[in-house]
């Protein structure tokens, strides 16, 4: 910047002398490079402590691992049903979340309108509210039309599991998509509009391909959030064996029966599922996305 402005501002030599350090043109001494280490070490210590804490949590779980209990848990038809329902419901709710999060994220990123702050706050409700309250809200909501018309098919049935997961996971997916759209410059979209595209074409052909890593990030985040969802499912869908039991509620049921080994077995299953899905998502191109 200093040299671009040279011909435009005759006072620049004076400014340069004020702005540029006296050793600007001198080769960097090895001492200066070494001085970065305390900073990097400090950062690494904080980051490393957190990663270590997470790793130790998993290792602690593994220390209570019992192959016999794992075999019992895997052989239990209720748990087998729970695993299937977990994988299915998490996938459906994650896809639904992205389907909703893309338009919501795009509108919130690109447009300014009256009441945007209120809409933004409403979108954050599932993130802020304790999950049990979300479940209670859903249960009460289904007393009123038009939701009540679907009550027989949804309440205490497997669609309630999907809906409970979706409500919370979608809020996180919306955040991810909004950040993604914020990072995409509007310039390309504007160029497409000037070249004859209408808004929809510019969105499908220009914006959406650029948002692909963001969509994958939102999908992963929504899937992971759905996997861990527990409170709303317990209230809205119940924890009925062979009907609405998912792995998070299986863990709760094992805890209620005081079976620590069973709890560990279910939690390790959940960790395994999470690691597999998150790793697959990263393999499919999430390396460039930072939320």
């Amino acid at each position: 910047m200093v040299f671009i402005g040279w011909e435009m501002n005759h006072n620049l030599p004076y400014l340069c002398s004020k702005m540029v350090p006296s050793n600007f043109n001198k080769p960097t001494s090895p001492l200066t490079v070494k001085a970065e280490w305390p900073f990097i070490l400090g950062m690494a210590l904080i980051a490393g402590s957190y990663v270590l804490l997470l790793a130790l949590m998993v290792l602690a779980q593994i220390s209570f691992f019992s192959p016999t209990e794992m075999a019992r848990v895997f052989g239990n038809p209720d748990i087998q049903f729970s695993i299937k329902l977990t994988l299915l419901s998490c996938t459906i709710s994650a896809l639904l979340s992205v389907w909703v999060a893309v338009p919501v994220g795009y509108l919130m990123s690109r447009f300014t309108f009256r009441g945007k702050g209120v809409v933004d706050a409403i979108l954050d409700i599932p993130i802020v509210l304790p999950p049990l309250i979300v479940g209670c809200c859903l249960l009460i909501l289904f007393n009123y039309p038009p939701f009540a018309w679907l009550s027989d098919q949804v309440v205490f049935e497997w669609p309630a599991v999907v809906l409970a997961q979706f409500v919370v996971a979608c809020a996180f997916a919306v955040r991810a998509m909004r950040v993604s759209f914020d990072q995409i410059p509007t310039r390309y979209e504007d160029v497409a509009l000037t070249l004859g595209c209408h808004r929809g074409q510019a969105f499908w052909r220009v914006v959406l391909p650029q948002a692909r890593p963001g969509i994958l990030a939102a999908l992963t985040l929504a899937w992971a959030r759905s996997l861990g969802e527990f409170g709303p499912i317990l209230v809205f869908a119940g924890s009925t064996h062979q009907r609405t039991e998912v792995l998070s509620t299986s863990f709760f049921l094992e805890m209620q029966s005081g079976n620590l080994r069973g709890m560990v077995a279910v939690s390790l299953m959940m960790i395994f599922c999470a690691v597999v899905v998150l790793s697959l998502a990263r393999i499919f191109g999430l390396r460039r996305v930072d939320l």
Partner: protein
């Protein structure tokens, strides 16, 4: 107790009425809860177990009775729920309780101390306090039936 909505719209008078496939029932989990276990034992005893399973009448099971009561209050899908009388202290007048006249429907809570208890005097004082008249009144106020020294 069978917890039903005010006016008993499904006309439930006893466990035998739960045969009706239109009635949707909630119980606590028979594998986790004593109440749930007793509820399902009563279904067997009154010969409605098979029809309840065939009709898929039990639409929800919960870990505790209070979760079940919260669900009954929050949504109108459940017509009947099997609970203890003591669980219903905070219910409003929108519900009715139908008593089940059967010994299995009564859960008796005993109190005892181990023979090799290292703190026999402390345990004795605890039992004395719990079995006192003041304690009995407290239990009765909270919906329990005090048996005391009854056999």
């Amino acid at each position: 107790m069978i917890l039903v909505r005010k006016g008993n719209p499904m006309g439930i008078r006893s466990l035998a009425d739960l045969n009706n496939p239109a009635i949707r029932i909630g119980t606590t989990d028979p594998q986790l809860s004593t109440l749930g276990f007793l509820s399902w034992e009563l279904f067997k005893k009154y010969g409605v177990h098979e029809s309840i399973l065939a009709n898929k009448s039990v639409v929800v099971t919960t870990a505790t009775a209070h979760e079940l009561i919260a669900q009954v209050q929050s949504h109108g899908k459940l017509d009947a729920a099997l609970v203890y009388k003591a669980n219903c202290q905070n219910l409003t007048g929108d519900f009715e309780l139908i008593q089940i006249h059967d010994p299995t429907a009564i859960a008796t809570q005993n109190i005892a101390s181990a023979i090799n208890n290292p703190f026999p005097h402390l345990s004795a004082r605890l039992i004395q306090t719990i079995t006192s008249q003041k304690s009995a009144e407290r239990f009765s106020q909270n919906g329990f039936h005090w048996l005391g020294n009854e056999p």
